[in-house]
């Protein structure tokens, strides 16, 4: 079974049909996706600013990192769930789209970077090193790239 056949099969499943036929289901799921994304992005920004010494210095880095990485993981679960539903609803639009794969590659990198930064923060390094600051800045660039790739799925021709 190739990708095209898989997508045909997936869009014929009862779950896919239910989402496709329910008026307003897709924008509603996309709205949940964007709301979770906004909380995740704020958490990533706060973490990066703290690493860069540009904010929330009153809270110890290891405590702040624990709180906001937890928020990042919870929102990622919500994003993955809503994202999976969107794939099930429109597999041809997503799984056959190069932008979707660009997004997933950036996502894998940013998850690895966030895990690394969280581990560094837990060791209570109050004075962050240049490499951590660069890593934190890179997470923000990757999240922005992920948002662009996500929006571009709507404009990019499926293969």
């Amino acid at each position: 079974m190739d990708l095209n056949q898989f997508n045909d099969w997936l869009s014929a499943t009862s779950l896919s049909q239910a989402i496709q036929l329910k008026l307003g289901a897709i924008p509603a799921i996309q709205t949940v996706h964007i709301l979770a994304l906004s909380l995740l992005f704020a958490a990533a920004l706060i973490l990066a600013l703290r690493f860069a010494g540009r904010g929330l210095a009153a809270e110890p880095l290891h405590l702040l990192a624990v709180r906001f990485t937890r928020l990042i993981w919870v929102m990622l679960i919500l994003l993955a769930t809503s994202g999976l539903l969107l794939i099930v609803a429109e597999p041809h639009r997503t799984l056959a789209n190069a932008m979707f794969y660009a997004k997933m590659i950036m996502l894998a990198v940013v998850i690895a970077l966030t895990l690394w930064l969280a581990a560094a923060a837990r060791q209570q390094h109050e004075r962050t090193s240049g490499v951590h600051r660069a890593g934190a800045a890179l997470t923000i660039l990757l999240w922005i790239g992920i948002m662009f790739a996500g929006r571009f799925i709507a404009y990019y021709e499926s293969f």
Partner: protein, 156 residues
């Protein structure tokens, strides 16, 4: 020719409509995520859900300058998107509701800043007064609405 008909024929409107639209729209998503996410973080503190160990005034002064910077970006990109199809946006109910909710969110913030905030010293470290909690709840509801109806614009 009305003002909005003129607006969507301006050079900026034409170039956004013909080629920049996906880029400007993506930037709009990035800015709105930063705006809503940082506002929700402060709202959660006002409601006592999170960041309770931080003073409200501290969290607000640390985060809100970034919120405002991102808001300016969201307005600029939003206006650019609007100009590309000004007349048809004005005909879309979700767009008009979104604008109404933005106005409501602004008025809520203004009242909070000018009235409720004057007494912040009394509840800065503890549980915010009912007026402050109400401001946090109204803020969450209006911003969730802004995002919901904003996404809906693309489906009508």
């Amino acid at each position: 020719m009305t003002f909005f008909e003129w607006l969507q024929e301006t050079p900026v409107a034409l170039v956004v409509g013909q080629s920049w639209f996906p880029w400007v729209e993506s930037a709009h998503v990035v800015f709105l995520a930063a705006v809503a996410g940082t506002i929700f973080t402060v709202d959660a503190r006002l409601l006592g859900f999170a960041s309770r160990q931080l003073r409200v005034s501290y969290l607000a002064t640390q985060l809100l300058p970034w919120t405002w910077a991102a808001f300016i970006g969201a307005v600029i990109t939003g206006v650019m998107l609007f100009t590309a199809n000004a007349v048809s946006y004005l005909d879309k109910t979700p767009f008009l509701i979104k604008m109404g909710l933005l106005l409501l969110a602004g008025l809520n913030m203004l009242y909070f800043q000018l009235v409720t905030w004057r007494g912040v010293a009394q509840w800065d470290s503890g549980r915010p007064v009912p007026a402050a909690r109400a401001a946090g709840a109204i803020s969450i509801i209006t911003w969730v609405g802004v995002i919901t109806f904003g996404r809906w614009i693309g489906f009508v």
